[in-house]
Subunit: 435 residues, 2 copies
């Protein structure tokens, strides 16, 4: 097994040692994400459980304790079970997580998520005692779920393999979109059961629909074919038209007309079905992610073994002649990938030296290419951070709430005919200038 860390340094470090170490490092990254995949899976399941629990708690509170009392209990028991699995996965990956020198953000986000889970028991008691409103309970669940999803976003930040990074980006945007869908379910339930939608609620519904669509767009841009197929089937399902009809109904009714409160149940069922269908797509992406990790890990291990054999044979051959002199292009400053294009063949054994050097060059090119390919996945992750930052800035500077800040940002983008991430970036960079 080549993935073990070489804790004993070589007596005199050689290029071959570090070339191997570079490959081993890639393998470690893949192994890390094989393990992180399990954690992500338990987060995906726990989030789904909490979304169900949140929905049931809402109906329970909204009905004055009449509806969903039993269902809620069963869902709480499910969530407890899912939380235990999350704790287990976290324990399994604990050594890897805390062994990095660059994961303080990730660890602190885990702390925030765990803190939310620790407070869950007390939240449930308050729901049981009907000691808070449906809106208050929703907010508390939202915060916890947000913290859990943020853990996955942070985890995605350190993937080195582009195909794996893409699937993780697809996964986490789907999770995020599904969470907006859950928030839309809650907002719609509040409207339909009260029989009216005031303008704040209408705007919130519109915000949540748009936010979902943006997330799903990113998901679709990075997903594998199977998940895309499932997603398209979900979109083609008649339930989507039905939901759209409800949305129209809610948003057009205004605050004075009233709707039949019975609609609330149908809305809730439709959106619950939709979320379950989204979870199926999520599971498919998760499956592809895992399969890709296994596949890439096996490839990288074989490739490492191949390199080791190659280097061992070169080592044997090189006992005789000294390593080759490498002459690089004239200026000698433009990047390692330039070096070695000109070769001196004077007095040295060119063949073998060139081979070892070629391996280092090849690794340079591979890593560069991977980094280039990673770019778009990194940008998708960066876009989300920038948007959150822009929203926060607007909230602080204008004293507006989250929904309003999102609206301001969207309006800016529309008015200027630019994309939302672009506008968010401009806003953040201007704020830096004005500080």
């Amino acid at each position: 097994m080549n993935t073990r860390k070489r804790k004993t340094p070589p007596q005199t470090p050689s290029a071959a040692d570090y070339l191997i170490a570079s490959r081993q490092c890639e393998l470690m990254n893949l192994q890390y994400f094989l393990q992180m995949g399990k954690l992500v899976q338990t987060i995906s399941n726990l989030v789904h459980g909490l979304q169900r629990e949140r929905g049931a708690s809402n109906v329970f509170l909204g009905s004055g304790g009449e509806k969903f009392a039993q269902e809620r209990k069963a869902m709480v028991a499910d969530s407890e079970q899912l939380a235990t699995l999350f704790y287990q996965a976290l324990s399994e990956v604990h050594g890897e997580l805390t062994g990095h020198t660059v994961s303080s953000h990730l660890l602190n986000h885990i702390a925030a998520a765990l803190h939310g889970l620790e407070a869950l028991q007390s939240l449930r008691e308050q729901v049981h005692n009907q000691a808070l409103t449906a809106a208050e309970a929703t907010d508390a669940y939202c915060s916890l779920i947000h913290n859990l999803i943020t853990v996955v976003f942070e985890a995605a930040d350190t993937v080195a393999d582009p195909s794996i990074a893409g699937l993780l980006v697809a996964m986490v945007h789907l999770m995020n979109g599904k969470e907006y869908c859950g928030q839309e379910r809650a907002a719609g339930s509040a409207g339909f059961s009260s029989g009216a939608f005031d303008s704040a609620l209408t705007q919130r519904m519109m915000h949540l629909v748009e936010a979902q669509e943006r997330c799903f767009d990113v998901f679709f841009g990075f997903a594998d074919d199977e998940s895309k197929g499932l997603w398209q089937a979900l979109r083609a399902h008649e339930r989507e038209q039905e939901i759209e009809r409800f949305r129209q109904l809610g948003c057009s009714v205004g605050r004075y007309k009233t709707l039949d409160p019975e609609l609330a149940d149908s809305w809730f069922s439709l959106m619950t079905e939709r979320m379950d269908a989204l979870k199926e797509v999520e599971d498919a992406v998760e499956g592809s992610f895992h399969a890709r990790c296994v596949e890439r890990f096996a490839e990288a291990r074989n490739s490492l073994a191949h390199q080791e054999t190659l280097i061992a044979s070169l080592d044997g051959q090189e006992q005789g002649p000294k390593p080759v002199l490498v002459l690089c292009e004239t200026a000698g400053e433009s990047g390692t990938s330039q070096a070695g294009e000109t070769w001196s063949s004077e007095g040295v054994s060119q063949q073998f030296g060139r081979s070892i050097f070629d391996l280092v060059q090849e690794q340079s090119r591979r890593l560069q290419q991977m980094q280039d390919e990673l770019q778009s996945a990194k940008e998708a992750l960066e876009d989300r951070k920038t948007q959150e930052k822009a929203v926060l800035l607007l909230m602080e500077s204008r004293g507006i709430d989250n929904d309003q800040a999102h609206r301001v940002l969207r309006k800016l983008a529309m008015d200027q005919g630019r994309k939302l991430p672009e506008v968010a970036r401009a806003l953040v960079s201007m704020a830096d200038l004005l500080k």
Copy 2:
């Protein structure tokens, strides 16, 4: 000692555990750079030794083996010694280097540098036997030195502490500028000893002067006060005017007039003195870097101990009441730093829960602020990569050499009235589009 990695996961992971882990992770990062500092120091020294050796080899080859034969031998012995110290430092940091899952680039750059060092013996033999030209020898040394400096650039990529990152950016840009100065010495020596500067040589000199200035600007923007003072003293030294006079002389003489070849010795001495003075500034930055690492490490360790005490006392108090319920702002989606601004005080012990939650929030804010402050250092590093990429693109697409590509880039920047990194970024992003 709190820096040990917690390999045994906690039974049930808690927010407090991960908050501590997040702080420990920062501490590990600082410890890593304490060790990396030693490696950087040995690289700085080795590069200086190789620059001296390159200079002596040049004069030796240029004089047909008449000059600097003994000096060169002494310098080779010095470099051998410095290489041994570099190998030692590398061995000491080997475990840390290979324990990361994100350092495959760094490891491969080390492999490239080691490969260059392995070929050094054969290069020296060729110099000794006068089996290559001064230009060929210069190129080989340039390539090796470039690879060594790139190791420092790559190492700087993973610093998490902004003040440390800034000093490392200052250090590596000074190293890079000094290397351009060394290349200018070689180019000037070639011109003065031949008695003439053709237009390619003149342009190369101008390129090297400009490239130095750019590096020194970045250095000055990030350096500590002591190093800045040394730098300003160096600039105010009369040697600078003298060098400027030589530059003017070389560049204005053209290819038909001839200069007194004796000027070559004065030029060589002047530039050698300048490089030794630059090395003193480099040592000062290195000293500040080390001091800052020690200081930040002690601070972080104290701060961690303080947190641990605080959390332990909170743990004790929290045996009784359950953790608090956290209610977040309405939409529950805008980032963890929002959560917890509204608090429910119903039926739960607010005081203690708030304290633990506050610690997590405070850590979030700290990390975010550090990341914001890191921005400019990261950008300086990114700028260099982008410029190398842009130069490479130009070389490939136009079939021109490194100097010419730099000139094209500079001309673009001047024509458009934009900064060089900006033009390089635009070029690279356009190339991505046109692929």
